[in-house]
């Protein structure tokens, strides 16, 4: 099991499109992927869009990503890349 901290940087937070990208990415891996609010108030299965949206993670929210499984490293990297790149919304 590996764990990493990520911050939501895109302006609208984990809204429908960002959440859709996250879920599409996460479901591409075998490992289980969980996102938890750093303040411990909510946790979500990264493979469920309904669950991800319910994190209500707006811009600036700190999250803990937890991956566990055969391809946990790859899965973690892919998901963290999305956060770092602001879900492709900050590029111009």
């Amino acid at each position: 099991m590996i764990e990493r901290r990520v911050v939501v940087t895109n302006r609208l937070g984990l809204h429908a499109r960002a959440a859709a990208r996250l879920v599409r990415t996460a479901t591409g891996y075998k490992s289980a992927l969980r996102l938890e609010r750093a303040d411990g108030t909510a946790a979500a299965d990264a493979k469920s869009i309904l669950s991800v949206l319910m994190l209500a993670a707006s811009r600036g929210t700190e999250l803990r990503a937890v991956a566990e499984g055969a391809d946990e490293k790859e899965a973690m990297n892919a998901v963290c890349d999305l956060f770092v790149n602001g879900f492709g919304e900050n590029e111009s």
Binding site: A19, R24, A56
Partner: protein
């Protein structure tokens, strides 16, 4: 707006905002945008498994529908509108939702419909608690998805599959999925309770050239599928159960309009002249790919205004240079030898992620349009390179929005020159583009003669010109009485601008709402406009007007208008002179409405 009129007999009228012109008589097709009722039934033990299978079949059906909608939305509306369907797909496939529904069926032994409803209500309750506005609104997506599932369970197709020849879509509001799914070939008109000028409904209806009225408050609740309805978008009126006299009146009107349209259709290819031989050019304004079809269908002489904001995905990323280049090439090819005029991004900080102040106190006067592009140099450079590259593959011009000072023009020109040098240095080919200025700010009108020395053409944006000149926000109903397109100041500004262009020997295109309204067109032509750009579907109507008037007469009336003291005086003059000069072209309802006396 949208005041419910008293019912006279069974005829009932609703007032709303006409967002796409035309008059149609047809039959109501009610489209549900929400609330399909589900009832509870208890199952026998042996039926539980069958019910689960029925649910899974419905999920598969809904999934196929969504995939089709998504593909269609991507093609016709762009990625901007399509991403939401990917979210819908994921919701439909979400294990959390499906496991919850199946558990309901198995443990509570209820029918699939009820199980879907219970699971959806539970989710919606959780969403309703979310503090973030935007995320809380995602509840409507969950409703959209669960409604689709309920329809799939009922064994019916989507509501709008069975469109008859004269179907008029009546809905509370059209959800994105419903809009993308409509069989537009058969829809004759759209009438919705909610929505505004920029709603999906409005944009798509204008693109297709079918009439649409929005903001009808509670029409949907009173209408039944199959009811006769009149949609008069010119006046913003929907009439349910029209009386025989109303019907006769409208049928005569639509027959006449149809006759006119067909008569004009034959001449689409030919150059257009007034009765006394003045040539007038009509071009198309486009934004969405859904509008491209109309450009060909209505015989536009090229594209007079291409609004590039559409290329920006939902509140987000700037399109890359390659993406932009492809889009511009497509527009150039659509426009053909007459060419297309690309307007640089008319954006404010509110539309772009991470770009400047998000809460300007006065966005209409803020960092927007050309000011935004000049401030965000990378945005301007990317767009300039994309246009220069695309211009190699088709005829393109560029117009700069919200010019208030010649300096803005010079700075943009410098960027275009630098980008051209850079591209050529990299061995990439570029094409020639002419650079024009949008004249829509009073300062630009006042200095039009100076600006004309430094640009290749003018585009008159009448909507913003009226707004800035009269200091009236056209989205604000409270000041609607002050928004007067025929205000003497507006006419003098247009006259002055056209004059400056003529003296500098540069062309001037008038684009904006005024150019698509026949009565205004006659005034514009009188003021000296010879090149108009409008929503493609307005072209036949405007063409018909121009073919029926003499330039000399229009000029004479326009001269009198310029002498008027008030907007009321101009409107009265237009009413009187137009109806005596061209009674067949301008029936009373096509002229500015008489205002109550002051």
């Amino acid at each position: 707006m949208s005041k419910r009129r008293k019912e006279t007999g069974t005829e009932a009228r609703w007032h709303g905002l006409g967002v796409s012109d035309g008059v149609v008589v047809g039959r109501v097709l009610r489209v549900f945008s929400g609330t399909r009722q589900a009832y509870r039934a208890t199952l026998n033990e042996k039926d539980v498994e069958r019910e689960t299978r029925r649910l899974r079949a419905a999920v598969r059906l809904a999934r196929r529908q969504l995939l089709a909608i998504k593909a269609r939305a991507e093609k016709e509306l762009g990625a901007d509108h399509a991403y939401i369907f990917d979210a819908h797909l994921l919701m439909l496939e979400d294990r959390k939702l499906l496991e919850d529904v199946e558990r309901q069926i198995q443990e509570e032994r209820v029918n699939a419909e009820w199980a879907v409803k219970v699971a959806a209500d539970r989710l919606l309750a959780i969403y309703a608690e979310i503090k973030d506005d935007y995320l809380r609104e995602r509840g409507s997506d969950i409703e959209d998805v669960t409604q689709r599932l309920l329809v799939a369970l009922s064994g019916e197709g989507p509501d709008n599959r069975n469109l008859t020849e004269d179907a008029i879509i009546v809905a509370e509001d059209l959800l994105p999925s419903a809009v993308a799914e409509l069989d537009f070939e058969h829809a004759r008109a759209i009438a919705t309770d909610a929505g505004g000028w920029t709603s999906h409904t409005a944009i798509i209806a204008r693109g297709l050239g079918i009439p649409a009225i929005v903001g009808l408050r509670d029409l949907h609740r009173h209408a039944r599928t199959g009811d006769t309805i009149v949609v008069d978008a010119q006046q913003g009126i929907a009439i349910l159960h029209p009386s025989s006299s109303t019907l006769k009146q409208y049928e005569a009107l639509t027959a006449e309009a149809l006759g006119k349209r067909q008569a004009v259709a034959e001449d689409f290819g030919k150059p257009l002249h007034t009765l006394d031989g003045k040539e007038i050019v009509l071009r198309a304004n486009v934004e969405l790919p859904a509008e491209y079809e109309g450009v060909r269908r209505f015989g536009a002489r090229g594209i007079g205004l291409y609004r590039t904001e559409f290329l920006l995905s939902h509140k987000g990323a700037m399109p890359s240079e390659d993406e932009q280049c492809e889009a511009y090439v497509e527009v150039a090819q659509l426009a053909g030898e007459d060419g297309a005029t690309i307007r640089l991004f008319d954006l404010g900080g509110d539309k772009v992620v991470g770009a400047g102040p998000e809460n300007e106190r006065n966005p209409a006067l803020g960092l927007r349009a050309i000011r935004f592009s000049l401030t965000h140099a990378d945005v301007l450079r990317t767009q300039a390179s994309a246009i220069l590259r695309a211009a190699k593959r088709g005829r393109l011009d560029v117009v700069l929005p919200m010019i208030s000072d010649v300096m803005d023009v010079r700075r943009v020109r410098r960027v275009f020159n630098e980008e051209r040098a850079r591209l050529e240095g990299e061995g990439k080919q570029t094409g020639r583009v002419r650079i024009g200025a949008m004249i829509e700010v009073p300062a630009a009108v006042m200095t039009a003669d100076k600006i004309a020395q430094e640009v290749d053409f003018f585009s008159l944006g009448t909507n913003d010109l009226v707004q800035y000149l009269l200091a009236v926000d056209r989205g604000n109903e409270g000041v609607a009485d002050w928004f007067r397109s025929l205000h003497p100041a507006v006419l003098q500004s247009i006259h002055r601008t056209l004059d400056a262009a003529r003296k500098a020997f540069i062309p001037a295109v008038v684009c904006g709402e005024m150019a698509s309204t026949p009565a205004y067109v006659a005034v514009l032509i009188g003021l000296g406009a010879t090149d108009l750009s409008m929503t493609a579907s307005s072209i036949p109507r405007v063409r018909h007007t121009i073919e029926g008037i003499k330039f000399a007469d229009a000029q004479e009336i326009a001269r009198e208008c310029l002498e008027c003291e008030t907007a009321n005086d101009v409107e009265e003059l237009v009413r009187v002179r137009f109806s005596e000069k061209w009674p067949q072209l301008f029936p009373p309802k096509s002229l500015p409405a008489r205002r109550s006396a002051e």
